[in-house]
Subunit: 205 residues, 2 copies
């Protein structure tokens, strides 16, 4: 059963509280604030207070909020991409890869965070254009990775589904993002695990 595998898979972190065990950086603090409260729900003052510095100091490193936001998505996307590459190295079975992919999301949710780009997807219309483009890239990258896994799994006979890989990949991204979105106000991590488990089970051959 896919759900069992999924629960056994070791954690590959997307969440980084601190850069490498040191003091949290501006990006670390801003990231968790955006994931919990949204880009329109936090301010330079929030970041500054958390780091015990002044707002002016934050402006020295990131001239404007749009710059900070862009850097946030880039770093998140890079870290996510690295986690996907690590999955490719560590696991061979495509069902296990999908389970590990879902676990990436779960690891974010248990920290009471929404996926950064899921959160920004909600606020999409209010974002500076550079941030909008960066959010699109994030989803495109996820889509590409999932299509490769789905294609491989189908060829090897470990995954089964109708229609193009692209359609199946869309459902997986949507399902996991939606499960995170709804789980925070309603149902919690348990709800996420149920939805993710059922979702992926539908692709197991």
């Amino acid at each position: 059963m896919l759900l069992d595998i999924y629960l056994l898979v070791g954690k590959i972190q997307v969440v980084a509280t601190t850069a490498e065990g040191g003091a949290p950086s501006i990006l670390d603090v801003a990231e968790v604030l955006v994931q919990r409260r949204g880009f329109n729900g936090f301010s330079y003052a929030d970041v500054a207070a958390e780091l015990h510095v002044t707002k002016a100091s934050i402006h020295y490193h990131f001239a404007g909020k749009a710059d900070l936001g862009e850097a946030l998505i880039t770093r998140y996307g890079d870290r996510f991409g690295a986690a996907l590459a690590a999955i490719d190295v560590r696991l061979d079975d495509d069902r296990e890869k999908l389970a590990a992919y879902a676990e990436l999301y779960a690891g974010v949710l248990v920290d009471d965070r929404m996926c950064l780009c899921g959160m920004l997807a909600a606020e999409y219309e209010t974002l500076p254009e550079a941030m909008q483009r960066a959010v699109e890239r994030f989803f495109a990258d996820n889509q590409r990775w999932l299509e490769a896994v789905l294609s491989s799994g189908r060829a090897r006979g470990t995954l089964a589904f109708d229609g193009p890989e692209a359609d199946a990949a869309q459902l997986i991204v949507s399902g996991l993002e939606g499960a995170m979105l709804v789980a925070r106000p309603f149902g919690g991590v348990e709800r996420f695990r149920v939805a993710a488990g059922r979702l992926l089970a539908a692709f197991s051959a």
Copy 2:
């Protein structure tokens, strides 16, 4: 095929641009603003400008933003509930009911809106408590209706799925909310229809 039915089902509106064909009300304008930009992404000034009145006039009807937000969710939930009741009256087949449910979401998305409570789910942590409770009620009501449909469909042999109705209902809500969330920045209504169609097809007996 479920997808075909789903495309043929007539529209039951959740979106109301104007109350009943008259001039748009404060709630009408505020609703679309929240659905497009989020609760933290609009202001009294935006509503006032759209209605060609002053901010003070809005405060006369809704003393604070929290009051406006609460009224918004209540009305949306009532309208959604009425749409679900209308589906129950109009349709008998539970597969068609699920398709009509998905079409409710699609009707919101084509107007470039996110589900009101999906949007508020993202901003959940920043909302006044009364609004948080109202968002939870919305999801609980959806959950309840879906469970009844799933239960009936399984008993009649038109729907098939493993495990409790509650788990299946969670996946449906999550999948549709997520498909809406991601579709706006990435993929559009086409993406939503693909994801929704595949999602519901998995429940067809």
